[in-house]
């Protein structure tokens, strides 16, 4: 069991978004949070990660390390991809330059290692952010809309990457506006059922 | 009582304007400070009562309907 959430409720100000959400994620599982716009997918994911604490009640337990990639890429636009990836405080990643270059090559960004991130396109920036997946050894990935701004090749790469991670015993929880990314491999958590 | 006449109270040896102005400008916000929340409480209370009557009215016809 990598993540165990019991009776989680999410409130925003005086408004309650979700209540009594139960979710347990084990190694080898892919979970997609589904629901209409504004139902609280991102809020729940932020709550599960512990980014937001106010208004999150219930029990959320992590069995090990996790990697959270938010909607924003957490990249400094004036720094190069290498400088950006060298230090990732949330997961203690202290990768060497050669490891970073390898990861960047894997996301098809060889040759862009030392350009400022701000000069890259939105899709390329997204791929720099996703290169963190390769540099982390956290078993649980929490990904908020990871497919946005990616082209077809990028999406296929990310799907393959998640497959590899899951086959190696990891787990992924993600949000996406597109249903059933991983077909029968994935499980859906329909937040419409928990909406208040 | 320090002053001898009402006029002396009003005049206060030439300082009357300032003293009375200060007291008047204090009295106004003080009254408002008490009155405004009291008004708000009354409004909310009436809203709650109306809400209760509305919900009572909404449930009553169905109860009668089941009788018939």
């Amino acid at each position: 069991m990598l993540l165990q959430a019991t009776q989680v409720a999410i409130e925003r100000g005086d408004r309650r978004l979700l209540s009594d959400v139960d979710l347990s994620v084990s190694g080898g599982e892919i979970w997609q949070l589904v629901g209409a716009n504004g139902v609280g997918k991102t809020s729940l994911l932020r709550g599960l990660a512990g980014v937001a604490r106010l208004g999150v009640t219930g029990e959320i337990r992590h069995a090990g390390a996790f990697l959270y990639l938010g909607h924003a890429s957490a990249l400094k636009s004036s720094l190069s991809p290498v400088d950006n990836l060298r230090w990732h405080p949330a997961s203690d990643v202290t990768a060497s330059v050669s490891q970073i270059c390898e990861a960047l090559a894997a996301v098809n960004l060889a040759g862009y290692e030392y350009r400022p991130v701000g000069s890259l396109s939105a899709g390329q920036q997204r791929r720099v952010a996703l290169a963190r997946l390769l540099l982390s050894d956290a078993p649980l990935w929490l990904l908020d809309e990871p497919f946005t701004a990616l082209d077809v090749a990028g999406c296929e790469w990310l799907e393959a990457c998640v497959h590899r991670h899951v086959n190696a015993g990891g787990a992924t929880v993600f949000t996406s506006h597109q249903p059933s990314r991983f077909g029968p491999l994935q499980q859906d958590l329909d937040l419409g059922r928990y909406a208040v | 009582m320090y002053f001898e006449s009402l006029a002396a109270v009003w005049h206060m040896d030439g300082h009357g304007f300032y003293v009375w102005l200060a007291y008047a400008l204090t009295a106004l916000p003080l009254v408002l400070m008490v009155w405004l929340p009291v008004k708000r409480i009354r409004q909310h209370w009436r809203w709650l009562q109306a809400e209760q009557r509305r919900s009572a009215a909404a449930t009553q016809p169905t109860a009668m309907g089941s009788d018939v």
Partner: protein, 232 residues
Amino acid sequence: MPSDQPLLSLRVVFLRQFLRHGRSIMTSPADVANPLLFFFMVITLFPLGLGPDPTRLAALSHGILWVVALLASLMVSAKLFASDFEDGSLEQLALAPYPLAVTALAEISAHWLATGFLLALLSPLFGVMLGLPDEGLLTLSVSLLLGTVCLTLIGALGSALTVSIRRGGLLLSLLIIPLNVPVLIFGTTAVREAVLGGNPESWLALLGGLALGSLVVAPLAIGAALRVSLDS
């Protein structure tokens, strides 16, 4: 919280965050130059507004210099955590197993070196332009060196509280200016005492005390404020 990973020592974390933020500041020199340019330009306005009479300018110079320094710090502190909040870096810092107070203090230190520290170093130049007597120049520099530490920390608190609010600019000045009053009073009095031949040391000591006090209190408050901004 990841528990099975080895924790880096807080000093290493501080240093890395400091270098990261410092490097990102260094890549845009305009951001460093802006407050100095602002200072320079506003200083120019005073002789134009008050007349070129050197004795009058000299009499007002310590106040002018300090007020403009305060305004310059107000201007730059609005942006302190803005990019971290928008690009998601703040979320990652909040998830890190280190106190936000430490990582935020690292960023503030880098920010201070690029703004307050430089301003304090260059302030004697501006003092000379306004006719501040020579006895006051060193005290001006030292008082700004200590004072900008407080100004930057208080500004950072304001920035942390308002970073999630759209159009938080004016609100920021409302929050910060009253808190900056003691810094302004101690700083201007120190320079004034130095010019009049009194003892500026006691006022500089008070400023130093304020700087130390805010170094202890402000990071904790900033950490809490950044969490609130993430929660909202």
